[in-house]
Symmetry: C2
Subunit: 326 residues, 2 copies
Amino acid sequence: MEAVTASAPAKVILFGEHFVVYGEPAVVTAIDKRAYATAKLRRDNQIRIESLSLGVSGIFKGKRFRPEKGGAKARLKLELAKQAVQQVLEKADAKQGINVRIDSEIPVSAGLGSSAAVAASTIVAASSLLGVELSSRQIFRMAYESERLVHGSPSGIDPAISTYGGALQFQRGKDFVQLGIQANIPLVIGNTNVQRSTGELVASVRQMKSRYSSIIDPIIKTGGELALDSVEALKQGSLQAVGDLMDINHALLCAVGVSHESLDRLVYAARKGGALGAKLTGGGGGGCMIALAEVARLKRVAKAIERAEGTAFLARKTDQGAKVES
Amino acid sequence: MEAVTASAPAKVILFGEHFVVYGEPAVVTAIDKRAYATAKLRRDNQIRIESLSLGVSGIFKGKRFRPEKGGAKARLKLELAKQAVQQVLEKADAKQGINVRIDSEIPVSAGLGSSAAVAASTIVAASSLLGVELSSRQIFRMAYESERLVHGSPSGIDPAISTYGGALQFQRGKDFVQLGIQANIPLVIGNTNVQRSTGELVASVRQMKSRYSSIIDPIIKTGGELALDSVEALKQGSLQAVGDLMDINHALLCAVGVSHESLDRLVYAARKGGALGAKLTGGGGGGCMIALAEVARLKRVAKAIERAEGTAFLARKTDQGAKVES
């Protein structure tokens, strides 16, 4: 086999970010922006990773790294895909060298699960190239492990979405539930391009919760109730209700202090542009927001977000998880 | 006696607007912006009301009205003070004619209780002029009754504040509680100058509540809990906690859909300008917001609000209720 290309989707959190830390359910969906990984055999036992989207490349030989493009910093950006390849090589018990070329449509550092999609697509491409058959569960475990090795302790939401696609309900300490939602979920994703640290925001919520527990605890519980209600609304395909719940969820996230002026600006712009609802997605404090809209209004909402100084693109739920492309 | 001038203060809702409709407590304070009423005896039995602040005047004779300034529409603007005078005349069992001149520092139609302050100050001026002694309770009842005759069914918060001054806790179906807060409450009040209908906003919350009761009910309950916590923070003089609670309260009001882009803009501006906390006050959908700040920062916060296209003025709690001035 000459080369194998595989892909895996990005994710957005529809409901429940932050509250999920305290045991409440979150609802997450795969979206039709994908990372693509193309794997080829090498004649040696080195691993070459090239990221077209990040503009970096280099060769891993054991623990050593030789940058080709992007200098020494390239290693950090390529480490994840290398870990993904290594997981597959270990499973295959092979000492084979492999080239992987990554090309991703997913904005990085935007809370959209770009890393997990890179890991999952790389795992599928490399395993397919080597003729190793992996179950979805195994792909998920390997993507999770790659993320864990590079980024610390991820929640597992991102590799689950990238592996399985579709919409999932996620709750700490429980297996995620595939929701099997039939309805299209037409979204506009708006990036504030404001940098933020999810870790710091999680810490600030914890501080608020300890200081004002009589207020913040019921807000968190209400956020969990809202996520459960959203599952019903999504299953019924009631976009208006999903939109209303997004608006309320956004306000609850404001209440625990994780919104940001730039996010609220885009949220208001989207609503005025005709969105059924809008909220921040992910860690908050900047980063991305999502707006739900009738398909015919998506472009108008996107324009409204752009006029409010955001970067906008359209997205919808995809049921296509990690898969071989060719 | 030649003439008597009396005054009564404006109010702001510090915590609990809208949630108070569903039986939760609200916390309201009198602020040092006052309406002044000067009463003089006439030689006839007519009632002449002049509002310097509204630029209208006219004479009531029985059920008839003769405008002097402001045309036929002047009646609507002067009716409240006339009702207040009439309450006092009935109490005095007098057929005496009276001139009342109103001069108010309180912005009208801004949710700051301008009407109640006009009513209370007029009642105190007229009763003092006629030598009728009224208890605070009687002043309150008369101001309430004047408002009821002109504006329909008021909650009673506004006449209570205008009469008693200070900060009150108010709960539907219960007597209000005078909180006896020692601390200064240094505020900036920002007016969006966006018109809105409190009635429509109250109705839209009711609709949200009936549609999403599993979420809106606990939000309302949490709003009540927050108001109770604020009383503790106010009593302890912990301005930082009061500010934090304002921020959370604002978000809960966003969650029930009563904020407005213009309000959020001023709220963010105030926070960036150094406020300890900020929130909409009153009905929302436009109207006014309040920001709490250390005294040394008040002017900076006011400037930030003005730069964000609001009209700002400084205010603080006053314990001076309705009273004779001279």
